[in-house]
Each structure stands twice: as structure tokens, then as C-alpha cells.
Symmetry: C2
Subunit: 536 residues, 2 copies
């Protein structure tokens, strides 16, 4: 009797399946493994679907469910549907979520993002299994992408699939520069939202630079006098709330203080740490205040006291210390610094030694604070194997540079400017997509030293008015390169999918540019569909 | 004893006032009347401020308070402040709202938006009084604009002011074209948000046109087969929820069906209402289906049955019926239409008579459905005083055209393309600001026939990627022209204020372009502050 019912249900659902087809089930980035029952098999899902965490509620997940119930079901469904729902055996009514590790601790570099998603025909439940809450965040995004509104029947549908998925690289970031133009906290939140849609897991916050210092320091409270204006600043509370906002979306914040070469704005509050009032950077090594100020800044980023509780302001174990583009001119001009170099015994190569004094100094501070120092590739170019072994080298020059870095045994991040700099407006999404990190390695065994990479949004010419259409959809191409297994990457097959992803971003309020643009943020030249815009 | 305490409190508050100054109290659009105690007098306001509606809760206002508590207090304040709050007598802890008319009915053309705002030094309450809830919406926006976060003290402050305010014009709209490019419902909501920030009160929804028909019709369900794709459509439920979204923000939705000349996309679903399969517009008057289809469409816009209740889909009493750019070519080519014209007795001027048949036909339908028909100025150019007297003429050509329209006794809306078309990328905010509707009237007594005006965002070259930076901040210039008394308008004095408003939009997530741009949506050329960007 039971098996007879089973057969009838199966037949019913097959009949139902044969009637309706899904509009392009499309996932970005492409999962590691996906099996469709058949490509046209779909089932309806209630817009009132109930999310259920096995073993009891978890706050981060409750927040996630609430958010995605809005993201997935953007179109109100007519009330009549809810009346019909009870009579519909095919309808998905529950999403069952199972996590092995229920911890809500801040994610680490090595934190798993593995998830499995099962949508079967004879069940009113969808099953999402993950190693931890951060895997659930990825799985829910995938589910949201395959949950498509059928405008003809005014109902949401999902395909019948089985997905196993995890990222190829541990660190998948986007750099955002908030010093050349201030990006309000709202836009940082919006950026984190969009990053999580593309399964990025790091916002690399290039928060201060030569032009401005918007960061509130508790230890050196005059630093943010180097902000553009009083209003264009981030309070400690802003940052605490932003980091938590990111955690809830599986996006870690990696903070950067770019020293010693990019810090002119620091001189407004603390002129003594700069070579002179007319020659502002690199940092002045001869000042007694310089190293303690750096020490204080790094310390407050890794632990801070507010309301009697100990917070880590930026809990991610990677901290970026810059180290690029150090110009010795101001050091050469300063008798005080020349004298200091002599006292240190820096003969002949005084400037190189001074540069290394800073590079080593701040990376040791980071290590002592239980952080892994990340520095731009110049530190490797200058000091090679004399760098601390626990330094992570961030390659922004030619990709070929990466080979030497990993051969010397250093871990690395890739952001080669020719392919992954978003401010290069003529770099197409295809170029970004095809930038395989391992392609120029001479020893394949070194590939495991590549922790991941980042697209970079330097903001000399980018404020809020053009942020989203400069970043998206091209940053999505980088996201897929960093997430998807190499053998599944194919730029031709990705073309339609990235266009669909761009239109998905649009429905979620992210102002992504037309995919086929030659110049990143060009407006469309003529009327047309989001899904089929002509190359400009 | 009491008066002694009063004096002490007064002294305390004076001391407090003298210490702190507000960062540029700046309101856009400029209110009718504003009196500062003195320009630097400010008081702190609790980010946990309680909103209190006299006479009991009103749903729309509760929703408003909840929304604005987030908009006003975007920066989390440290917990320590809340501990200190009880000891601070100057602190604003309550916003008291009083409305004369408590109705939540949909606003009408004539609905008052008057409000008064009082912030006094010896009170922990702010007083907002309005004629109705729609005035409250305007007053709360003003309050939000003058509530400034003081980054040095990590506290919010307001100036001590008395404001009386109401708009100069009844109808202050922005046209958005969703036919040349589909703008997802998310962006319509975002647009409504931004419109309400600038105290606009109408979204003129140019929903369908030659290129696409994204609108779900209940009476002619095949019409939206003329959408670009299955996904790029608005369901009835989408529209119902959008209209309610607008109502809650004091933004009415005026729908437009542009007939008979801009309707090629209608032919996909109903080829019989078009002249032929190769010559698609204007509408075919000879088809028996044409007028009933229009009748059905207008009827469902003004009343629709869902879930057993009678809704008005678009309750605003103005409905736009287009009427512009009617090209007779397809009519001339059609023997069927020529024959029909003969049968009607249209001799000599057959095409003009056919044009008028449509113009009169749809405007009569609107009137019969209790709506005021709005039509583009061509209908006046063609038919002058033979137009129905209750027609509202929408002038998009030279502003001088307006004079003839109002002299003939017609009510009018102004959107002269040279000054108020947002797709004209080289039209500066100053030009938009200086476009005084009455400047070319030859008889001042006709000025009262101008109901207002609209900025127009035609979307041939505008999709979501460039929508916000094409519209803003220039649309704000139009908003002030339509809101602020003429004698308070001054483009030089407005320059700083509009820059501040643009930065305010940025903090609220609206991607407004740099104010001084020569081309509307140009990216900034160099690093710099939001408040001081150079002219490009």
C-alpha cells in the first residue's frame, strides 16, 4: 500500500515536472559539482517557506533566513496562492538546514565553506547541509540564485538538483580604497552584500592612504584629523558594526595600513612622525613617536576595550601592512633621518635598511598580536628571502612575479594589476575571468602556497556615483576564478551566466554595468534587454 | 524655587550651546520659512529617541518612524552615551508628532503637505505639527537633514529652529521610463526613496513604450508578451506593493499609457490593434479590439479585484495618456484604416481627425473613471481649444509653449526638455535650478493654472548601472524649484547646499554624481572630498 502511494506521488510529480520549465537555472560562481535530475525539472516553492535549523536556532542563521526570505522572494505573490498551497504536494514548504559545527565564532582563513544542497521531487523539504554557518551562507546564496519567479504562473520554482560545493581558494577578496574617495559606511555595507552574492569572503579595506585618514584611532585620536572633512570618517563603532555586518554574510574584513610609503595624511594629526612639514612620506624612522603610534594602531585593531568587553576590532588573522612604493626622496632630504641611519649603523644602503626596519618592525608587531602580516610584493623584490617566513606576499605587478615568491617558500595572494585591477576600465570581464593564478608557475608543487587573490578597486577616480558599475560585473569574474575548480572554468560557457548574474545583481539593487562593455562603466547605447545587451 | 531651577537649566543649556557648533545645518529643498535661534546653537538628540503620535498610533507613521530612526542615526553610538543620557537635561529624548487629519487615505493632488517643526532649548521634546500624515513625512525628512552626527563627540545634534514649510506646487514629479530599459522593482523602490528625500511627491511611471511592455494586464493578459524577456516584467502584485510603498513615503505613482503613437510593443500580444505586422504604430482605429482594450487597461488601473477586495491599482487622480509624436505613416499605408476614416466621415484631415479620435476617446475614458487626463503638449498644438477643458497639458517642448496652454485655460505641467530632461547629460544642475515655470507667461494671472512640473528620465541610454548618477543630484535642483518659494531661490546660495545634499544622498545609499560635473554622470577625475569636488 505504501509503495503504491509512493508510485502515485512519483507519477504526479513527474506529470507536474513535465508541464513547467525553469528560466535558465544559473549559478554564479559555478559550483564544484551539480547534478540536475533533468535540466527542465522544477518544483514550486512557497514564498512563505519555513527555515528550520536542526538542533535549534542559531542567531546568525535566523538573521540569514530573514534576509534571504526578502532576497529570494522579491515579488509579492497573490494571496490566492497561499490558499492553494495546502493542496499542492509538490510544493516546497520547508528548508531544513543542518550544520556540523554550530559555532558563531568569527571565520578564519581555513574555515570551511563546504555545503550540500538537495532538492528532490518527492519531498516538501529542501535539504541544506554544511560544515558550519559560513557554509550555510554560501548554500543559501546558491538556493536563492536557482529560485526563479515564474511570471506566467506567478509562482517561485526551483530545479531538482543535488549540489556539492566548496571554494578552490581560502582567501577571495576585493580591495576597496576609501582614502582617495571616502565611501560612506552605507556603501561599505552594500559592497559586503554584493561580495557575498558572488561568494567572495574578504573585503580588503584599504582604509587610509596619502590623501586621507578617515579611520578613528583610539590610541592616536588625532590621526583622523587627516580625513577630508569632519563628516568623512569612520568611528570605531562604525567599524565594529561593519565587521559584524560582514561576519553575518561570511565576508571577513582585512584592514590595511599602508606603511611606510603611503601615509602623508597621517602627518595632519602627528607631524612629528613625518620627515618634514614639506616632505611628508615615507614615515620618519627617527621620531620616537613613530613606532609606538604604529604599535598602538595595530594593537587596537586586534583588541579594543568598549563597554567593558574585549572586542577584536578586526578579528581576521590576516592584516595588511602595505609596504609598496616607498620613495626615498624625503629621507634623503632630512638631516635628522640621515643622522638616525648612521646611528643605526646603516651604511651604504641606508634607505634600504630603513625600509626593511619598517617592514620587519610592523610585521613583527602583527605576529606578536597573533596576526599574519600581508605585504605588497615590493617587500619581496627588495628583501627576498630575508623577509620573515610568515609574511604573506601580495603580488600586484606581473603575474610572473608570483613564481619567485612561492618558490622562495612564501605564501601569496594574487592581484596582478593587468588583469585584476578594477580601476583599469578597459580590462574586460573575460580577461579577469581567464586570469589563472597558477598559469605562470614553473613548479606545480608551489601552487598550494597561493592562498587566493583579490580584485582591486583603487578609488582615485571612483566615488559612490560610479563604484558599483566599475566593480560589477567584472569582480564577479574574479570571484568565479577563485571559487570554481579550474577544470570547470570556461569563458565561452560563462558568457550567458555572467549576464544572468548581472541582471540578478540588478534585481537586488546593485548597479552593475552591462557585461559586454568595452569601457567598464559605459552606459548602454540603445534600448534593450538586460539579458542581451550589445557590445559597445 | 521652580523658576530658579529654570534659570539654572537655561544657563546650563546656554553653556552647552556655546561650546558646540553644528556642521552646516543644510536643508534641501529650502523650506518656506526657517528661523534659527542662532546659527550655531545646537542640542544633542538621543539616537534612541522615542516618536510619539498625539492621539494614538497611526500605522503609516509608525512605519515612517522606524525607517527614519535608521536613516537619521546611521552611525552606531557607543553604549556609554546611553548611560550618560539620563544625566543630560539638554538631550532630546522624544519627538512629538501632531496631525490634524489622521486619515491614511491615498494622497490627492490637493492634499496638504504643510508642517511645522520646533526645536527649543529648554525642552527634551521636538514638536512636529502637520495637517496630515503626508505633511509629517516632509517634516521628518527635514528633521533628518538637520540631525547631524558630531564625530568628535560621537553624538547626534540638531540646531534650535522653528520651521514652517509647505510646497509651492501641488504636483512635483519625476518621470521614469521603464520601457527603453527595464528597471527592476528594487530600483523603482530606491527611486521612490530618493524622491521622498528631495520632497518630490510623484513618480510619473512611463511604464510601456514602443520598445517593451513590462506591465501585467489583467484585462488583456497577452500584452506583456511585449516585454523584453519573461523576467523583465511587473506583476499586478508588484505594482500594488510599489504604489503602497510610494504612499508610505508621500510619493504618488502616476501611470502613463502613451497612445496612440508609442505602442509598437503592444502588437506582440495583440497584433490586431496595430496597422499591420510591418507597420506597428500608431494604434489601429479600425480594429474593433482597440478601444475595448484601452478601456480595459484604464479600468484595471483605477479599480481591480484581488483577494475579494476592491483596490484602486493607481489611486492618484491624474493619469497620463501620452499623445505625443504621432506619425501618420502607418495609417496612410493601410487601406483598412483609410476605409475606416472614410466611414467616419473624416474627409481632408483624416489623420488629424483619427488622432483626435484617440485623444478624445482615452481622455473621456479617464474622466468616466474619475481620473484627470494628462496629455503631452502635441495634443494642444494639434487641437488647441477643441481639447476637453479638463485635460491637463504636459509641456515638454520650449517653455514658451506653456503660455498658450494656460492662456487657453488649460491646467499644465512643465517638463521643458531643454531644462528638465535628465537624459540631456550636459544640462547642468544650475540650468535645472533656474528654470522658473512662470518666466515666460505673458499674463501673470494664468500662473495658477500651472500645477507643477517634472524632471524626466528617459531611458534609451539609462539602465540600473547609470540610473542614480544620471538622475541625482540634478533632479534635486528641479525639486527645489517646485517646492521652495520663488523669492528664496538663489542659485549661488544653493551651490553649497546641493553639494551637501548630494553627500547626504551618498550616506543614504543613493549613487548621486559629483555636483559640478559638466557631463551628468562623469566619474571624479582625481582624489578628493565629497563636499569639495572640482568642476570637470
Amino acid at each position: 500500500m505504501l509503495s503504491c502511494v509512493g508510485i502515485i506521488l512519483l507519477l504526479c510529480s513527474l506529470i507536474n515536472i513535465s508541464v513547467t520549465t525553469l528560466v535558465e537555472p544559473s549559478i554564479w560562481p559555478e559550483p564544484m559539482s551539480i547534478t540536475y535530475k533533468n535540466e527542465s525539472a522544477v518544483k514550486p516553492i512557497s514564498s512563505q517557506v519555513v527555515w528550520k535549523t536542526m538542533g535549534g536556532d542559531i542567531d546568525t542563521l535566523n538573521d540569514l533566513y530573514q534576509r534571504y526570505s526578502k532576497i529570494m522572494f522579491i515579488h509579492p505573490t497573490p494571496d490566492k496562492d497561499s490558499n492553494n498551497e495546502n493542496n499542492n504536494n509538490d510544493l516546497t514548504k520547508t528548508i531544513v538546514v543542518e550544520v556540523k559545527d554550530r559555532s558563531e565564532d568569527y571565520p578564519k582563513l581555513e574555515t570551511s565553506e563546504y555545503y550540500e544542497l538537495k532538492i528532490e521531487e518527492n519531498s516538501s523539504e529542501i535539504y541544506l547541509t554544511a560544515d558550519n554557518i559560513y557554509g550555510v551562507i554560501r548554500g543559501v546564496e546558491t538556493l536563492a540564485q536557482i529560485t526563479v519567479y515564474d511570471f506566467d504562473e506567478l509562482v517561485y520554482r526551483t530545479p531538482l538538483v543535488s549540489i556539492q560545493d566548496k571554494p578552490r581558494y581560502l582567501h577571495r577578496g576585493m580591495l576597496l580604497d576609501t582614502a582617495r574617495h571616502f565611501q560612506p559606511i552605507t556603501y561599505l555595507r552594500k559592497t559586503i552584500d554584493a561580495l557575498s552574492f558572488a561568494k567572495y569572503n574578504v573585503l580588503h579595506w584599504h582604509v587610509v592612504d596619502t590623501q586621507s585618514f578617515p579611520f578613528q584611532s583610539q590610541t592616536s585620536p588625532k590621526l583622523w584629523e587627516g580625513a577630508y572633512t569632519k563628516n568623512e570618517r569612520y568611528s570605531t563603532q562604525d567599524m565594529i558594526s561593519l565587521v559584524e555586518y560582514g561576519r553575518k554574510r561570511g565576508v571577513k574584513v582585512m584592514i590595511e595600513f599602508d606603511v611606510p610609503g603611503h601615509q602623508a595624511s597621517w602627518c595632519t594629526g602627528y607631524p612629528q612622525i613625518c620627515p618634514s612639514t614639506s616632505c611628508l612620506q615615507p614615515l620618519n624612522p627617527a621620531s620616537e613617536d613613530t613606532m609606538p603610534l604604529l604599535q598602538g594602531l595595530l594593537k587596537e585593531c586586534t583588541q579594543i576595550m568598549t563597554d567593558g568587553q574585549k572586542h577584536e576590532l578586526f578579528p581576521y588573522e590576516l592584516i595588511h601592512l602595505g609596504g609598496d612604493e616607498v620613495d626615498y626622496t624625503c629621507w634623503n632630504k632630512s638631516p635628522e633621518i640621515n643622522e638616525w641611519q648612521k646611528q643605526q649603523g646603516y651604511e651604504g644602503n641606508g634607505n634600504e635598511d630603513t625600509y626593511k626596519y619598517f617592514v620587519d618592525g610592523v610585521s613583527k608587531m602583527a605576529i606578536d598580536l597573533n596576526r599574519l602580516p600581508v605585504q605588497w610584493v615590493e617587500v619581496f623584490e627588495h628583501f627576498g628571502s630575508n623577509l620573515r617566513k610568515d609574511t604573506i606576499v601580495h603580488v600586484w605587478k606581473e603575474k610572473s612575479t608570483l613564481d619567485g615568491v612561492v618558490k622562495a617558500g612564501y605564501k601569496a595572494l594574487l592581484s596582478n594589476q593587468n588583469d585584476w585591477y578594477l580601476d583599469h576600465e578597459t580590462t574586460s570581464w573575460e580577461t579577469m575571468y581567464n586570469n589563472e593564478p597558477t598559469s605562470e608557475l614553473t613548479d606545480p608543487s608551489t601552487a598550494s602556497l597561493i592562498l587566493g587573490g583579490e580584485s582591486c578597486m583603487w578609488a582615485e577616480n571612483v566615488d559612490i556615483s560610479v563604484l558599483e558599475n566599475t566593480v560589477w560585473p567584472r569582480a564577479a569574474a574574479v570571484a568565479e576564478r577563485l571559487w570554481t575548480p579550474m577544470d570547470k572554468m570556461n569563458v565561452e560557457r560563462a558568457a550567458d551566466r555572467i549576464e544572468t548574474f548581472r541582471c540578478l545583481l540588478a534585481t537586488r539593487g546593485v548597479g552593475a554595468a552591462p557585461v559586454k562593455n568595452h569601457y567598464a562603466r559605459k552606459a548602454p547605447r540603445e534600448p534593450g534587454s538586460c539579458y542581451d545587451q550589445r557590445r559597445l
